[in-house]
């Protein structure tokens, strides 16, 4: 893959030219007009009819001009390539308020890689000399000084582990498995880090926390600061080079290591380790009947809903789809297998939630826009830093959707989603508890080990890695 934004934009030219401006990319369930929903709900951000096709592009909903919806950005990209438009602050200010949630890509019948295009546009914009917005410049400087965009002291990155009595796992040199914590869990949502590490401990995993860990680079890949992002990437590849498997508790970090790093490494390089999210392990152990959950009086009867993080959900789904399209020899026959594989991917957190329902007594209720059609939390794409009001309003839109199903608890599996949803929950008084699923398991002491998992269980690869096999299988009926 090309290593500059402009070159990458040129590589994506065919995708850009596929856009016919049909605007299907504006809405969730754009191909399901008769989808039964939950009716109209008057929330903090207005009234939404959750039936059939529903608008789901946060920037388009907020700003309204064609340029803020995806199709408008595709035609901006085309105008740049044609020389009809030059990069300037006007272009920057239109392409930056996009959370890069990928809703557009998921809806596109022509399979345009919209997120790649928008990120390449941003990188090319920066390369052309257009300055970063102040807030992005701030986080760029912070990460260069302190290895994280929050401004936390680099030396304090693993303070949470020491405080929680998990010091033995820091730089555990013999471990073949590492837990990459990420900046948000290290400096903000430490509950996620503690819950995940304690869960691993309870399962008997021999893992390491790496104190040379730095920011994964996700915010910088998204905003176009690809130079900064690649520097961080190199540091992390060096820090984790001696392990076989890296587990994540953050959707964004997981996506960045798994999808972004290979794209920005050189042709002959590949990731030296496998990657997986902690919830994939938990789901697998449930399916293997090695773990279950204990009943809990406090949680019994609580309505729990689940927010699919864009990075673990849609981004992986679209990436898997693109890879399978690339490998396919007859896409008409194989498209159904691709859809089945994506459906299986989305089931992973639901295996855990349904087990919690069965064992603990929660009531698991889905929101209207879920899985590939999930509405974004508003945090990603550099938007939480750059456009905080827009970001929180988007999170509040999502909280409205959780309120619409009567949720007591809104769960997710990304500390960044959790942060943004939690802030909106508070600011707009949505009245729920926001927490991570793994946090729920640890804090309520729900884990019941039926059969101790072993290292082999921990080293099993993610189901994502099965794509070639999936293409060879017969499609399910």
């Amino acid at each position: 893959m090309a290593k500059t934004g402009m070159k990458r934009l040129e590589e994506l030219e065919k995708d850009i030219y596929k856009c016919i401006h049909c605007k299907a990319c504006r809405s969730a369930y754009s191909g399901e007009p008769d989808r039964e929903g939950i009716g109209e709900f008057a929330g903090k951000q207005g009234t939404v009819l959750y039936e059939g096709i529903v608008d789901a592009c946060p920037a388009g909903i907020e700003y309204g001009w064609e340029a803020f919806w995806n199709a408008g950005k595709m035609w901006i990209a085309r105008s740049i390539l044609n020389g009809d438009l030059e990069f300037n602050e006007e272009v920057r200010d239109v392409i930056l308020p996009c959370i890069t949630c990928g809703q557009c890509s998921a809806q596109c019948e022509n399979k345009i890689r919209t997120v790649d295009i928008i990120e390449a546009l941003r990188a090319a914009c920066m390369e052309s000399g257009v300055p970063m917005i102040d807030k992005h410049e701030l986080v760029d400087n912070l990460v260069k000084e302190r290895n994280n965009p929050y401004g936390g002291a680099a030396a304090e990155r693993l303070k949470w582990a020491k405080d929680a009595g998990l010091e033995k796992f820091i730089n555990n040199k013999d471990a073949k498995i590492a837990y990459y914590v990420g900046c948000t869990a290290s400096y903000r949502q430490v509950e996620v880090a503690i819950a995940t590490a304690k869960l691993f401990e309870q399962l008997g995993m021999d893992f390491t926390l790496v104190d040379d860990e730095v920011c994964c680079g996700s915010p910088f890949f998204r905003i176009g600061a690809v130079g900064t992002a690649q520097e961080l990437m190199r540091k992390n590849l060096e820090a984790f080079k001696n392990v076989k498997m890296v587990y994540f508790s953050c959707a964004g970090c997981y996506r960045t290591f798994t999808i972004d790093y290979p794209k920005w490494m050189s042709e002959d390089e590949k990731l030296p380790f496998k990657t997986q999210h902690a919830f994939e392990l938990v789901a697998r152990l449930i399916q293997q009947e090695k773990i279950k959950f204990k009943p809990n009086k406090e949680l019994k009867g609580k309505v729990v809903t689940y927010h699919d993080p864009c990075h673990t959900g849609r981004h992986f789904a679209v990436d898997m789809e693109q890879e399978m399209i690339e490998k396919s020899s007859n896409l008409m026959i194989e498209s159904r297998k691709i859809r089945d594989a994506i459906e299986e991917w989305y089931e992973v957190p639901r295996i855990i939630l349904r087990k919690l329902e069965e064992d603990v007594g929660i009531e698991f209720k889905e929101m209207y826009r879920i899985k590939l059609n999930s509405m974004c939390c508003g945090a990603g794409g550099g938007v939480r830093a750059g456009y905080p009001e827009f970001s929180i309003k988007t999170a509040s839109l999502r909280c409205d959707e959780a309120n619409a199903v009567g949720a007591d608890i809104l769960t997710t599996e990304c500390p960044f989603c959790w942060r943004n949803l939690s802030d909106a929950n508070e600011q707009y008084e949505h009245g729920m508890v926001v927490m991570g699923v793994l946090q729920m398991i640890t804090e309520y002491n729900l884990l019941d080990i039926l059969q101790n998992p072993n290292e082999k269980d921990f080293l099993l690869p993610s189901i994502r890695e099965n794509m070639e096999e999936i293409l060879k299988e017969k499609p399910k009926k």
Partner: protein, 493 residues
């Protein structure tokens, strides 16, 4: 005719009308409205984009632009899969009517709904599905969810039941239009302030029909009253395949002539050839040879009859009659052995009946871009058109994708060659233009009508219909004295 290129003073005037938030000449925003695909390849970036919400705002904008001689292009939504009338030279103002999205009224007793131009297919479908489930939303068939009911109608698009009752425009009873001369006019019975919009011909000659097909070239339509029809629960799709377009044409006509009988049940009658299926996939990821499609049960040509009825008995009667007629037709067919009923899985039937849908979109997946070059023919000539055009497409190196649908029980055929090409290469644009010129010359001689003549084609059609064009132009001059409205595909002026 010379036009003024809008300047900062004009932008200020627009801001004075709609507010700072809704008028802009920001270069990134104006560029985002560009579109060179689907219905036309000629498009340029507008100078100013405005997003009005109220009729009075539109009136003031048009009056100002008339005085200043600034060109205006109204856009309601997505216009059947792309901006069918995007801004062309001389640029000027683009009116994005997306904020005018009220579903004003649904009257089940008088059977109409009143909508604004920005109401999309998806929105109207969701709303009526929830609150008026016994009524079919009057949306276009085949246009994607973000296309608008209004835009499709004034572009002479389809409804869900066009094959039975006629084009979508026939379902529009009354409307409200703002003309560039500053007048706001309601048509039909709605011209009377105390009357409902219940009759197209109320008070005198039907002015609305003048606006059908106008594509925004005469003024800005700000409201429309559209008929609604009951949405029966008993629906299915019957498909018969054949190996040539003449058998497709002739069988379909025989069924269509069953008027006051089963052909009123066949709401959407459309078909085509196997490349319609092939060209929805990437060129290098799908077999091109017909043998593969034959193996999976797809005929070389076919016709779908989407059939609606109020009872199961009526539905069974209609579908059985179609089957019997098809069997009988074999005696007269060019190739009776190829006439086969296609057995559809229930999921395939459900997929074909899904509305609004995205069926028209993925032709860009073949390479990177496509164009519908659409024609009207009398139904008994659509096979001739299909044969001529598919040969021409192959001559120019395009896959011979042909879609054909019936309007008003095969009184007209809409014939839609879908020209799939790689739009990155300027040579392909030239090839498309060559194809278009060559086929237009032939088609006009047959008396066929180009749905949306491209600018380099206009003159071929209109110089032959000079008297008609003269009166169109005279009407346009009456309502748009300085000719500021987009000329549309009618080349006015």
């Amino acid at each position: 005719m010379s036009y003024k290129l809008p300047d900062e003073k004009d932008l200020e005037a627009m801001i004075g009308i709609v507010g700072k938030e809704y008028a802009t000449n920001n270069k990134a925003i104006t560029a985002s409205y560009l579109s060179k695909s689907v219905m036309g390849l000629e498009s340029q970036i507008p100078d100013i984009v405005i997003r009005p919400k109220y009729v009075e705002e539109i009136r003031k904008i048009l009056v100002y632009c008339t005085q200043e001689k600034i060109a205006v292009s109204p856009v309601s939504g997505g216009l059947s899969g792309g901006f069918a009338c995007p801004t062309i030279k001389p640029g000027g103002v683009l009116l994005d009517l997306g904020r005018m999205k009220r579903i004003i009224e649904i009257d089940e007793e008088n059977r109409f709904c009143i909508i604004e131009p920005g109401v999309t297919n998806g929105e109207l479908w969701a709303y009526m599905h929830k609150y008026h489930p016994d009524w079919a939303p009057p949306i276009p068939d085949g246009a994607p969810p973000a296309a608008t009911v209004m835009g499709d109608a004034i572009d002479r698009g389809f409804s869900l039941y066009t094959s039975s009752v006629g084009p979508q425009g026939d379902n529009f009873m009354c409307g409200e239009i703002v003309f560039p001369n500053g007048d706001v006019v309601r048509t039909g019975s709605w011209a009377l302030p105390t009357a409902k919009p219940f009759y197209k011909y109320g008070l005198g000659p039907d002015m609305w029909s003048f606006l059908m097909g106008s594509q925004g070239s005469l003024g800005v339509i700000t409201k429309a009253a559209v008929k609604i029809y009951p949405h029966p629960k008993f629906k299915t799709v019957v498909v018969w395949g054949m190996d040539n377009p003449y058998d497709m044409q002739n069988l379909t006509l025989e069924v269509a002539k069953q008027e006051f009988g089963i052909s009123h049940h066949t709401v959407m009658v459309q078909g085509g050839n196997y490349p319609i299926v092939m060209a929805r996939w990437p060129k290098d990821k799908i077999p091109h040879d017909y043998a593969f499609y034959k193996d999976i049960g797809i005929s070389q040509w076919w016709m779908n009859w989407e059939t609606w009825a109020q009872t199961q008995e009526e539905l069974d009667y209609a579908t059985n009659r179609i089957d019997k007629m098809a069997e009988d037709f074999k005696k007269r067919a060019k190739n009776p052995d190829a006439i086969i009923k296609q057995q559809l899985h229930p999921k395939q039937i459900a997929s074909r009946m899904k509305k609004p849908n995205k069926i028209a979109i993925p032709y860009s997946f073949w390479e990177a871009g496509f164009l519908f070059i659409t024609w009207y023919t009398p139904w008994p000539e659509c096979a001739h058109f299909a044969e001529m055009y598919t040969k021409a497409m192959e001559k120019y190196g395009f896959p011979p994708v042909m879609w054909i649908a019936s309007i008003e029980r095969c009184r007209q055929a809409i014939c839609m060659p879908i020209v799939c090409f790689d739009s990155r290469d300027p040579k392909n644009f030239e090839k498309v233009q060559e194809l278009n010129r060559e086929t237009t010359e032939y088609a006009l001689k047959q008396g066929w009508l180009n749905y949306r003549p491209d600018p380099y084609i206009h003159v071929q059609a209109y110089y032959q219909a000079a008297m008609y064009w003269k009166y169109l132009r005279a009407f346009k001059k009456l309502v748009d004295p300085n000719m500021i409205m987009h000329p549309g595909r009618l080349a006015l002026p």
